[in-house]
């Protein structure tokens, strides 16, 4: 816990017009999460399935004594599942609860200026646009900003699976 807080404080000290992003790759696409929201990076192990939950919910797991709800980002983005490869997860907090976003790999930390972000292209897949907070143009590729609030918020309102 204290480590996390420390990290969070460090983020806040960063310049106000630049944002640091933790980049992750999901299905070959680069995504960025504001570093202030990322509490952990871990390998999801011993995930307990939760029957009758939404298909995107990979299950629950124990992360240092806390129960974390893991969300399979590939399924969330309607991508085919990853075959036989070690997945990674980033731990985030949303409304005082812990969630883990299961992704393919974690990249690096990028410091980007807020002004270089662009809004979603209008022809972006609706399911993607729903969770994207904008796009950054990097050298040779694009980074989609993951909007955690929208990503998780949308899952709360989903109708009951049962």
């Amino acid at each position: 816990m204290s480590v996390l807080e420390h990290k969070q404080n460090a983020d806040q000290n960063a310049g106000s017009d630049t944002i640091q992003y933790v980049t992750v790759v999901i299905g070959g696409q680069l995504f960025g999460l504001p570093i202030s929201q990322v509490h952990d990076v871990f390998v999801p192990e011993r995930v307990t399935r939760v029957p009758k939950s939404a298909p995107e919910v990979a299950g629950v797991l124990n992360l240092r004594g806390r129960i974390v709800t893991a969300i399979n980002m590939r399924r969330r983005l309607h991508l085919p599942p990853l075959e036989d490869e070690q997945m990674m997860a980033v731990g985030i907090e949303y409304k005082q609860e812990s969630y883990g976003l299961v992704i393919d790999t974690v990249g690096e930390v990028l410091t980007l200026s807020e002004s270089s972000s662009e809004s979603n292209p209008s022809n972006l897949d609706r399911r993607w646009a729903e969770i994207s907070g904008g796009v950054h143009r990097l050298d040779g590729q694009l980074m989609v900003i993951l909007d955690v609030d929208r990503l998780l918020g949308a899952m709360f309102t989903e109708p009951m699976a049962a």
């Binding site: 011993r46 307990t48 399935r49 939760v50 029957p51 009758k52 939950s53 939404a54 919910v57 299950g59 629950v60 797991l61 124990n62 004594g65 129960i67 709800t69 409304k95 609860e97 812990s98 969630y99 998780l152 899952m155 709360f156 009951m160 699976a161 049962a162």
Partner: protein, 931 residues
């Protein structure tokens, strides 16, 4: 709001609760000076503190009430009116306190002159009464002196109490209060010394034993102030010793402590698990110690959350007293085991159910005095509350010595409400009948009183209790009284669970709902048997429905769900939830484990199957099964029909999913012709065989004596006759106390199939032909035969002249039900229009056809009943039209769904009386309890 004020509010609220109780006692024993002293002291404290804090309104009322009580002390006769008046003023004080709290310490505006005036008038009356009876005064004051045993106390009190001019008294007290407080500080206790306590002490300035006695009483009422040590007696002021040994702690602090201890327990379990794997570990001994300390710590923290159940009972004497007056029944409330302790969270949850049950006992449990006298009982009824520990549970009993449950009345109510058929009811034991008391919308009170009888009570009580993992049971002996027995766990935070495996995943099932475990093997005495494809377990002569856990949870991975249950090998967890008993088949059973329930994340909280999750000793997360959720899912498998065990639920569900049309159980029989005939099984009450010799002939028709009444026999084809020898099979149809026997040649089979009447029939008595089990089968029209037995079968009581003018729109995609129910509705006097689906219904409504009510099926292709109802409700023109749901799926979940969609009522498809009753309810505007 400052701390002082907050403290004052908390303390005063507690004192007022005590006053409530004491006053009721006092009313019964007006000569008990100890009680009066106690009350007087409490009210006086309130008054004093109000003056100190500058709360003039409170002070005014308290002062007037105190004056009146002072008169009692001086020997004025205690009247019921006077006590009621004081109780009213105390309510007023409470109200002001509440507002005070809400307004952050601002005393609300208002005028209390009316109540103060009344109190003053009453005081004046008391004066007059006293003047008339000087002798009485002596008599009354004498016991005071006797009980007190110390004349100084009496004198001291009197010097304070006599001159009751507000300003003077409080000033005097304040001075003393400050003096005393200083002394207290010198004693150097580490705890809060608040001014209330100081004022308290002034109330008992004498070092006499009286003070201690009074304090001890107060301590018993205020559980937080627990005595932990004995050295208090050595302190100089005896009055202060008790309160100095306890501190007030915010509940949040305790909750947090509890959570942390829970974490500690989990970690300890994890460590133990690791050590278990490494045999000779040097960690073993210290870990053992850690484990012991943890256990003790856990116990200690739990103890801080424990409160005597008496806290939940505190308000009851007052309630019973008020009820006693309102209902004009003298009632005594006995409380046994008030010091039994339980978790405060649990305590909060049972407060309301308990209150409700006591009200119920007073209202319909106890008889009126005349009836009691006639029954040879004392006029005064007794309600007993008893609490005691038993295993990890606490048992609370609410008992009355009233009339007991009138089984016959309950029976007729059950039938009337359509909860079971008459024939079923006949077979039930008394205790089974009693269980219906807890069914939703059930009340046997003949009339709705302000106290109870609205039928929303006992099911809510049961739900509340089941919510905290408890059970409620009812025992009743007619004429002797009834008693409700509530069994609840001591705490909610830690649950003993059984760890099981299904489809490779582990789940925790709370032990509380597990009745037993049965191991099934090919050669063991317990075998899984099948009725058609439905697995059941024969256990001690009872048939237990079985479902595999992975089926319930929808995680079965095999090809064929039917094969999920391996008849030769498996474990069955027999669970009981409420009155429902069923078997859950699992692949493996590991062990039991005490686990700390952690709430699930919000995203998963809508899953009804789980109540939480936790981390096991080995570090993995496990989901905790919610027995109520499982029971609900189990119930939705079973249909509402009589022959639920004979239905094949899965095929039913699957075919429903594919064709969106429900399949039903059909009874196939043969008579007259070789081709089979069918009738929906759920309409058949019983299959019987009678000795031919038992068939009698009277008034030109065949009859048999059946259950003490004559049952007419009806033949499928006119001119048929019964067999000449041996036994005669027949189908018995019962409805509202009457039975009819339909004579058949042979009962062939019970099948599960969709019933599509493909060829209609012109012949009376036949609805048409359908393909059942790949054979063309005649579907019998019961509506034709029933009136042959009793001409007025459909017409009896429901016939309502007024109803004739009511137009009802009946929407159902199944022609069978349209054909089946239309005559029923018509016979009840309604003008019925039928529709094959919502689209046609919309058309009719759009065309301006006016209907007084809509009856709609739920399972329909294209638009289902819920959507249909929702869209009707959205249209302002149809917003107020009553809509009834009619479905073969009647589960709490579907009823709730129906309610949300806007249905006024939800009726089972085969419940014809229920439908008629619901329609009647709708038209007479008596909704409410019906849904």
């Amino acid at each position: 709001m400052d701390d002082l004020l907050r403290e004052f509010i908390t303390e005063t609220n507690e004192s007022l609760d005590v006053v409530d109780v004491e006053l009721v006692k006092f009313e019964q024993e007006p000569n008990n000076a100890t009680i009066l002293d106690n009350i007087f002291r409490l009210v006086h404290t309130i008054k004093g503190t109000c003056g100190f804090l500058g709360l003039p309104r409170l002070e005014g009322i308290a002062h007037a009430a105190e004056t009146l009580m002072g008169k009692f002390r001086d020997g004025a006769p205690v009247t019921q009116d006077a006590v009621s008046l004081i109780l009213i003023s105390i309510d007023q004080i409470k109200e002001i306190l509440n507002e005070l709290e809400a307004n952050e310490g601002e005393e609300p505006q208002g005028d209390d002159s009316e109540i103060i005036g009344k109190l003053e008038v009453m005081s004046a009356k008391a004066d007059e009464a006293m003047a008339g009876g000087g002798a009485a005064e002596d008599e009354a004051s004498e016991p005071v002196a006797e009980v007190d045993a110390t004349p100084e106390t009496d004198a001291a009190d009197q010097t304070i109490e006599r001159p009751l001019r507000p300003g003077e008294v409080s000033l005097d007290e304040l001075e003393r209060a400050f003096r005393e407080t200083e002394i207290e500080v010198e004693v150097a206790e580490p705890v809060v010394v608040d001014d209330d306590e100081a004022v308290d002490e002034i109330e008992d300035p004498a070092p006499a034993p009286v003070a201690e006695k009074v304090e001890a009483k107060a301590a018993a009422k205020e559980p937080e102030k627990k005595k932990s040590g004995g050295d208090g007696a050595e302190k100089k002021a005896s009055g202060g010793s008790v309160s100095n040994q306890s501190i007030r702690v915010a509940v949040d602090t305790l909750e947090h402590l509890m959570t942390m201890v829970s974490e500690l327990v989990l970690t300890r379990n994890q460590l133990l698990e690791i050590v278990r794997r490494h045999e000779d570990s040097e960690f073993k001994v210290p870990l053992q110690r850690l484990s012991n300390v943890t256990a003790e710590l856990q116990e200690g923290v739990m103890a801080t959350r424990m409160q005597p159940i008496g806290n939940a009972w505190q308000k009851l004497p007052r309630i019973v007293r008020d009820l006693s007056q309102e209902l004009e029944k003298p009632i005594d409330l006995e409380m046994i085991g008030a010091d039994t302790e339980l978790d405060r969270q649990v305590l909060e949850m049972i407060k309301d159910p308990l209150t409700h049950m006591v009200r119920n006992s007073a209202d319909h449990g106890l008889e009126l005095p005349e009836a009691r006298r006639a029954a040879g009982k004392p006029e005064k009824g007794i309600i007993t509350l008893a609490a005691y520990h038993e295993g990890g549970h606490i048992i609370i009993e609410v008992r009355d010595d009233g009339a007991g449950i009138d089984v016959d009345r309950v029976k007729s109510k059950i039938v009337e409400r359509g909860l079971a058929t008459e024939a079923d009811v006949d077979k039930m034991t008394d205790s089974q009948i009693h269980k219906f008391i807890f069914a939703a919308g059930f009340s046997t009170a003949a009339a709705v009183t302000s106290v109870s009888g609205r039928g929303v009570g006992m099911d809510v009580v049961r739900n509340n209790i089941e919510l905290i993992g408890g059970t409620v049971d009812l025992r009743s002996i007619q004429g002797k009284g009834s008693s409700f027995i509530i069994k609840i766990p001591l705490t909610l935070a830690i649950v003993s669970t059984l760890i099981v495996e299904a489809s490779g995943d582990r789940f925790a099932i709370p032990q509380l709902s597990v009745v037993e475990l049965v191991r099934v093997q090919t050669n063991s005495e317990h075998r899984i048997e099948r009725i058609k494809d439905t697995p059941v377990l024969r256990l001690r002569n009872k048939l237990l429905p079985l479902v595999h856990l992975s089926q319930l949870l929808g995680i079965y991975e095999g090809e064929d769900v039917e094969k999920a249950i391996d008849s030769d090998n498996g474990f069955i967890v027999v669970m009981q939830v409420g009155s429902q008993t069923f078997g859950v088949v699992v692949d493996g059973v590991f062990h039991t484990e005490e686990i700390v329930v952690k709430p699930m994340s919000t995203m998963l909280r809508n899953l009804e199957m789980f109540s939480g999750n936790t981390i096991l000793g080995d570090g993995s997360v496990i989901m905790i099964i919610d027995p109520n959720g499982i029971a609900g899912a189990m119930a939705s498998y079973a249909s509402s029909s009589v022959a639920e065990s004979q239905e094949d639920e899965h095929e039913d569900l699957r075919s429903k999913a594919i064709t969106n049309q429900s399949s039903i159980s059909l009874l196939l029989f043969r008579t007259g012709a070789p081709e089979p005939k069918a009738v929906p099984l759920s309409l058949v009450t019983r299959l019987e065989e009678f000795e031919v010799s038992k068939i009698e002939r009277s008034n030109g028709r065949d009859l048999v004596q059946y259950r003490g009444a004559l049952m007419p026999l009806v033949y499928v084809n006119e001119g048929d006759s019964h067999r000449s020898e041996g036994t005669q099979p027949m189908l018995v149809f019962s409805d509202a106390g009457r039975s009819m026997g339909l004579v058949v040649e042979e009962i062939v089979d019970i099948v599960e199939d969709r019933m599509n009447i493909e060829v209609g029939s012109e012949r009376p008595g036949v609805l048409g032909s359908a393909v059942v089990k790949e054979r063309a089968t005649e579907i019998i029209d019961l509506g034709y035969y029933l009136p042959q037995a009793f001409e007025d079968w459909f017409m009896r009581k429901e016939m309502d002249i007024e109803a004739l003018t009511k137009k009802v729109l009946f929407v159902d995609d199944s022609s069978f039900f349209r054909n089946m129910l239309t005559p029923v509705l018509k016979a009840a006097g309604y003008d019925v229009t039928t529709c094959v689906g919502p689209s046609q219904a919309f058309e009719l409504l759009e065309n301006g056809d006016k209907f007084h009510a809509v009856v709609s099926d739920i399972e329909m292709p294209e638009i289902n009943g819920f959507e249909f109802c929702e869209s009707l409700r959205r249209d302002p023109r149809f917003r107020d039209i009553p809509i009834l749901a009619l479905s073969s799926m009647v589960t709490p979940a579907s009823i709730e769904r129906g309610r949300q969609a806007g249905f006024d009522d939800y009726v089972a498809k085969f419940d014809r009386p229920g439908l008629i009753a619901a329609l009647k309810d709708v038209f007479s505007g008596e909704m409410g309890a019906a849904a």
